[in-house]
């Protein structure tokens, strides 16, 4: 078979660099993680990852992250819409604020959130009389996870909204579609792939989040303890294999989530006949 010729040569070189880079940065550390988990045998791994306190932390980490990503999916699209569609005073500032959760050290975010949501905090003392507690509850964890995930949806959806041409909406209107129908039948399907990507990214970020959560959660076993925190706990107890095993579980789940998210997009494209 004759090699295909390209205008720009360098396939071998770039692929080589990519593989070396990926190996050093991603694959070797992850393989080490995998090997380390089994250093004390299968039984220890199984015992560690099925411990009730650990299982409870999966729900906090994966479940609340999922809810947070969904909420970001909804409000992120609205924020992206406003920023992409309208010109108003302060838009640039608002646009910059969206990126703050990217840039802010997460520990700072965690402390700030804890301060305002604590019982005597700015928002906390307003909610207190209604019996709503945020700091040191799952609600608090959820808020922290929502906070750090917000930019992902906004930043993936916003450019897609900007690229939508106005004449497609006008075409829908001249064909007799109401505004509601125009949104659901014309605009939303065009945004859906980017919304799914944004949600998947926000979810991935939330699952791995540590800094902001440990402050607001109070780390109560069975209630607000997240899996990454348990990993730290295990490390502090010199249970390196146990910590690696938990890391491995997180790795597998994250990988499944990415697969599902890619699968959803492939399904969406197939449904549209691309």
């Amino acid at each position: 078979m004759a090699a295909r010729r390209h205008v720009l040569p360098g396939f071998g070189l770039t692929l080589g660099y990519t593989l070396v880079y990926l190996s050093i940065i991603v694959l070797i550390p992850l393989s080490a993680l995998f090997l380390k988990s089994f250093s004390d045998g299968w039984e220890h791994v199984w015992k560690t990852i099925t411990e009730p306190r650990v299982v409870a932390s999966y729900w906090v980490s994966f479940g609340l992250s999922f809810l947070a990503a969904l909420v970001n999916g909804f409000f992120g699209v609205i924020a992206a819409w406003v920023l992409a569609r309208y010109r108003f005073p302060g838009r640039k500032l608002l646009d910059a604020i969206v990126d703050l959760p990217f840039a802010l050290p997460t520990a700072v975010a965690g402390i700030a959130l804890t301060t305002i949501y604590a019982r005597n905090g700015m928002i906390g003392h307003v909610l207190e009389p209604y019996g709503i507690k945020v700091a040191f509850t799952q609600l608090g964890v959820f808020i922290a996870l929502t906070f750090i995930g917000l930019p992902f949806v906004v930043r993936t959806v916003q450019p897609v909204i900007q690229d939508l041409s106005a004449d497609v909406e006008e075409a829908a209107a001249t064909l007799g579609a109401t505004r509601w129908q125009t949104f659901w039948r014309v605009i939303f399907p065009a945004l859906l792939p980017s919304i799914l990507t944004g949600i998947a990214l926000a979810y991935g970020r939330a699952v791995g989040e540590f800094g902001s959560v440990v402050f607001i959660s109070g780390n109560l076993p069975f209630k607000t303890e997240i899996t990454p925190l348990l990993i730290i706990t295990k490390l502090e107890q010199y249970d390196y294999a146990g910590a690696a095993a938990l890391g491995f579980v997180m790795l597998v789940v994250s990988f499944i989530i990415l697969l599902v998210s890619n699968g959803l997009q492939a399904w969406d494209q197939k449904r549209r006949g691309v």
Partner: protein
């Protein structure tokens, strides 16, 4: 259905796009709105469709005042210069869109929608492309899908905004001939915007020449050619012959 434009004025900020325009498209007529770019012709077409609203003046469809009706109430068939197809829908669904969005009461049965769309695709010679996506079609094919989509709602007027503007010369000529033949069989009241004099004179029953927001002359192609109303029309047509 006829279209009547009465004293239409429209400003964009300080720029006066239309300055008191009057004209009429009679039932079953194919009229070209001809003018240089920036003359206000597209604005006028969009006001007729309900995509833009004038500060002053009225729009009548067969004597009925539709000035305050929105685009989706007027349901004028509209064909855009850049097709404006729904990228995520295949050709069939694009054409069926106007029927599917009707309220449950007036929506045709699925089998009727199917029959109608298929016959329209037949009309625009795209019957074999029903399952394709717009991105898999050529420019000329896309514009024919846009035609079929606009015709699906059985509009009483057809408005075309530089419908051949984005196509190459050969396809443009083919589609132009096709439009004229189609109009000869259906006699749908049609108004199309163009800056191409040759196109206007070849296709239209009557030509409306517009410049700087004012109508310069209205007449059949031969009237306009033999009797230019003013120096603008004279020069405009001279240039046309020069470049053609």
């Amino acid at each position: 259905m006829s279209i009547t434009i009465k004293d239409i004025s429209k400003n964009f900020g300080k720029f006066a796009a239309l300055k008191g325009v009057n004209c009429e498209v009679r039932t079953g007529e194919l009229v070209a709105l001809l003018g240089p770019s920036g003359s206000g012709k597209t604005t006028l077409l969009r006001i007729i469709a309900g995509l833009e609203f004038a500060e002053e003046g009225q729009v009548f469809f067969s004597g009925r005042d539709v000035t305050d009706h929105s685009a989706y109430q007027r349901k004028a068939g509209f064909v855009f210069q850049h097709y404006a197809l729904f990228q995520h829908m295949n050709v069939f669904e694009n054409v069926a869109f106007g029927l599917r969005v009707r309220s449950a009461r007036s929506r045709p049965k699925e089998s009727d929608i199917r029959a109608r769309v298929e016959s329209l695709l037949e009309t625009v010679q795209l019957a074999d492309y029903a399952k394709r996506l717009p991105s898999q079609l050529s420019g000329g094919q896309r514009q024919r899908v846009a035609f079929a989509r606009a015709l699906a709602i059985e509009p009483e007027v057809l408005l075309l905004d530089e419908p051949f503007g984005a196509l190459d010369a050969k396809v443009r000529r083919e589609l132009r001939t096709w439009l004229r033949e189609f109009h000869n069989t259906v006699h749908l009241t049609s108004l199309f915007v163009t800056h191409d004099q040759e196109e206007a004179f070849e296709v239209a029953d009557r030509v409306v020449i517009i410049s700087e927001g004012l109508i310069q002359q209205i007449g059949t192609p031969s009237e306009v050619r033999s009797n230019p109303a003013n120096t603008f029309v004279e020069e405009f047509l001279d240039v046309a012959q020069f470049t053609a």
